[in-house]
Amino acid sequence: MEVDQVVPLPRLPRVAVCGGTHGNELSGVYLVRELLKLQREVMKKEQEEDLKPASVLLVLSNPRAMQQCRRYVDTDLNRCFTHATLNGPLSDMAPYEIIRSRELNALLGPKGSPAAVDLVCDLHNTTANMGLCFIAYSDCDWICLHIFRHLQREMPDTPMRFLHFDVSNKESYSLDSVGKHGFAMEIGPQPHGVVRSNIYTAMKVGVQHMLDWVRLFNSGNVFEGGFVDVFTMVKHIDYPRDSETRNITAAIHPCLQDRDFCLLHPEDPLFQTFSGETVRYKGTEPLYPFFINECAYYEKGIALSLARKRRVTIPAIRVQTEQEQQPNEQGFASEEEE
């Protein structure tokens, strides 16, 4: 790409890293705790040496669920961030997570306003064999796509994919949608309630590279353009269930188990019933499966999800200069509208 095609984007002065949005996804819980510990030590040093404080907000999103080592207490926190839920009426009997979502919106948002943090990275684990995934609502947020590409280059031995859920800003429901930019960093496989050292380390290294990228970006670095393979969610498939009890009557087929992002063709095995029969994929289009056998999705009626892959070209980007910054301060405009 040529130099005059570099897209200038607003600075990212405030970044939030959130863990424990689901209280039993432990890599994020332990990583944010560890980063908080380090930050306290650095801040002590900075106070002594009178240095500028760090601008990374470290947040433990769902402390009550963390304390009980459960996904949530009353309702899934990571579905509570739609505009409607954040701004609707609040009863006395409101679920814990609804109250918490408003606190988080006040801390990191308000969602949709100029005061929102510039980037939210929300840390998650999955029981599915997905490696490291970015999950975002947009397939043209150059910031998120460039961060992803940076991680791909810095962590070549880590399987990494960019997942896109095509949900409008109005309907976006997860914590990462509160920031001006945001994505979930989802790493698996890890059982809920367990921290696996290899998964924790991948998350720690991934977050470090993300923060390094933000510093480089803010300092004026030009990031050259290129391409990213984006997986866009198409549909979910539920387990076969008993018509009366709604209990599942089959398990993910052994040929599909752990084969996230391996192309699924029509007639490939999907499930194996408890009486040994194979249930096959009846779609007409080959698609990429992911979130195969994620524990938390049994209750949401999802055995696996399916995605289409396409190559997205990303432009070269750099931070806006002070002069370029000024029109932004007058009105809040996102680069997606350019």
Binding site: R70, T127, H192, R196, S197, Y200, Q257, F274, E299
Partner: protein
């Protein structure tokens, strides 16, 4: 040694129970018991009454390990004693333990069930494991020997927990011959097809053994390799009790493999290695089981031992 020359006689093992859902989020057992409750053809054997039973239905419904307290630790003499007043103040699982003891026990009495299989899953990479509570239970040893031979070359190991302090009061302990089935790795709340099928096969062989025994087959003396529980090792913690290190990548998933003094054991969150300081080689298992974080257990150590069982025959 001379005692092994005599054939031990046991009464017919007619009354057999299969427990699932003792921990409500261990899905293989829940699924198998529900399946067999609906259609028990697969578990039927001549002269055997095999009863499938969900021990902790409330926990199963919530897909959680337990509601108030761990059912698989609740079968203590104190909890089961008839002196204890039944009432609303008791934890749900204690009430369940009393109920289960009424149906399948009483524990320690002649009326107790002959055999109980208790189905469990673990997040640890333990493969197929049978859990034995007494090294003197020749009936169980012979059954486990039979299962291991039937499964070969697939592995099925035996964990012996006879440790006076670490042994606990399990749901299956109500029976004369308690057998724990532990299959992993499987995340809590998840049903993996291969794990489910493995547990199904173990039970098939176990029931085949009981049928043969009840028909009068004599099983000659045998030796069984077991792993005897030695001690529990907790995670390193800070002054507030918070975990400060994880199972080391070199140890993660290495259940049943030798751990030598000096080998890496834990890795702190900032990357430092903590080494095993024991005096000799041990065989760790239950490495990184999710449910044991709250029980102060990162893994347990075992030593290999060969047990001998005398011949057995129906009385």
């Amino acid at each position: 040694m001379s005692s092994y020359n005599n054939t031990a006689r046991f009464s017919e093992a007619r009354r057999v129970a299969i427990f699932g859902g003792t921990h409500g989020n261990e899905m293989s057992g829940v699924t198998l018991v529900n399946l067999w409750t609906k259609n028990g053809a697969e578990i039927q054997r001549k002269a055997v009454e095999a009863v499938p039973f969900i021990t902790n239905p409330k926990a199963v419904e919530k897909c959680t390990r337990y509601v108030d307290t761990d059912l698989n630790r609740a079968f203590t003499p104190e909890n089961l004693s008839s002196n204890r007043m039944s009432g609303n103040n008791l934890p749900y699982e204690v009430l369940r333990a009393q109920e289960i003891n009424r149906i399948f026990g009483p524990k320690g009495s002649p009326e107790a069930y002959d055999v109980i299989f208790d189905l469990h899953n673990t997040t640890s990479n333990m493969g197929c494991t049978l859990i034995l509570e007494s090294s003197k239970d020749y009936f169980n040893l012979q059954m486990m020997n039979y299962i291991k031979k039937a499964m070969a070359p697939a592995s099925c190991l035996v964990l012996l927990n006879e440790h006076p302090l670490l042994k606990y009061s399990t749901s299956r302990s109500v029976a004369k011959h308690p057998v724990g089935l532990e299959v992993g790795p499987q995340p809590q709340g998840v049903l993996r097809s291969n794990i489910f099928e493995a547990m199904r096969v173990i039970l098939k062989h176990a029931l085949d053994f009981i049928e043969l025994f009840n028909e009068g087959v004599e099983f000659p003396p045998c030796t069984v390799e077991v792993f005897r529980v030695l001690e529990r090792i907790d995670y390193p913690r800070d002054a507030n009790g918070n975990i400060i290190a994880m199972v080391h990548p070199n140890l993660q998933d290495c259940d049943w493999e030798p751990l030598n003094p000096g080998d890496p054991m834990f890795q702190t969150f900032d990357g430092k290695t903590i080494h095993y300081q024991g005096s000799g080689t041990v065989y760790p298992t239950f490495i990184n089981e999710a449910a044991y974080y709250e029980k102060q257990q990162a893994f347990i150590t075992t030593r290999r031992e060969t047990l001998v069982a005398s011949a057995i025959k129906k009385a």
